[in-house]
Symmetry: C2
Subunit: 138 residues, 2 copies
Amino acid sequence: MCGSFRRTARALTSFYQEALWPLGLRATQLTILQALSRTGEVSQGRLGEILAMDSTSLTRTLAIMRRRGWIAVRRGEDQRERLLRLSRGGAAKLKRVTPVWDGVQARLRGKLGERGWKNLLRLTNQVTEWTTAQAGSL
Amino acid sequence: MCGSFRRTARALTSFYQEALWPLGLRATQLTILQALSRTGEVSQGRLGEILAMDSTSLTRTLAIMRRRGWIAVRRGEDQRERLLRLSRGGAAKLKRVTPVWDGVQARLRGKLGERGWKNLLRLTNQVTEWTTAQAGSL
DNA sequence: CCTCTATAGATGTATATACATCCAACTCAG
DNA sequence: CTGAGTTGGATGTATATACATCTATAGAGG
């Protein structure tokens, strides 16, 4: 199952990314833009939880995105925290990229059908939640 | 969907890998051992197709696994090809690791239930096949 | 046989991702 | 307030992964 998911993630990334390539944006980066757009300002640690990603791994990707002017960072009340939000440029980038992304997604969705699509989303999210909850419980 | 799959792949990898960590084996590497065990000797390019992975990306991982003595490589009749197979050590490693891996898998399978499990495998493979077939067709 | 083109991998470079470890800032017991 | 332990990220290091480009080998014509 793990191998199957990793394989599909690779195939799917390459499928979406083919359309995104000319826009100079990676799948991970778009995911982060989308997440920030939904949540508003969040700490790096919290963003890591949302994405089920090690928060220190985010440090590198966020550095890239900051260099490109897509996200803004400031210290929180707790001075250890980094609070992240979309910058104006990031919001613009997201707006420009979204239709392209949605177009690719629609093709896949059409292929899978509504039932399969929803099923798949539900099951993947269920797996994420459960495995995340199990972490460290051995 | 892409983000969802990538997120689940991370969560799932970390879930399986927690058990595998003491055995000094990564998820990708185990996947390769399993694939070679099923297929017998294959070329690097063919292995890439099977795993939906760029065959040149395999070069690096295979180098690591060769260093550890898990796989053996020889030239094919076509001198450009690299034919890969499990070495004796690789087969032994796979045998040792499999029960641990299966144990983790059984926990997840129990949680999802037979129906959800099969559904998920079927859907993910369907997505892999379709997106792979679409590659470059834009 | 010789050249042209196509293909299998190797290598360069960039991003993605994880764990271990480190530092700074926070918390809380005393 | 102060020292001990905790927590949020930053940094070091290793693997995973992709695309562009390069090299060597195949194969097709002439």
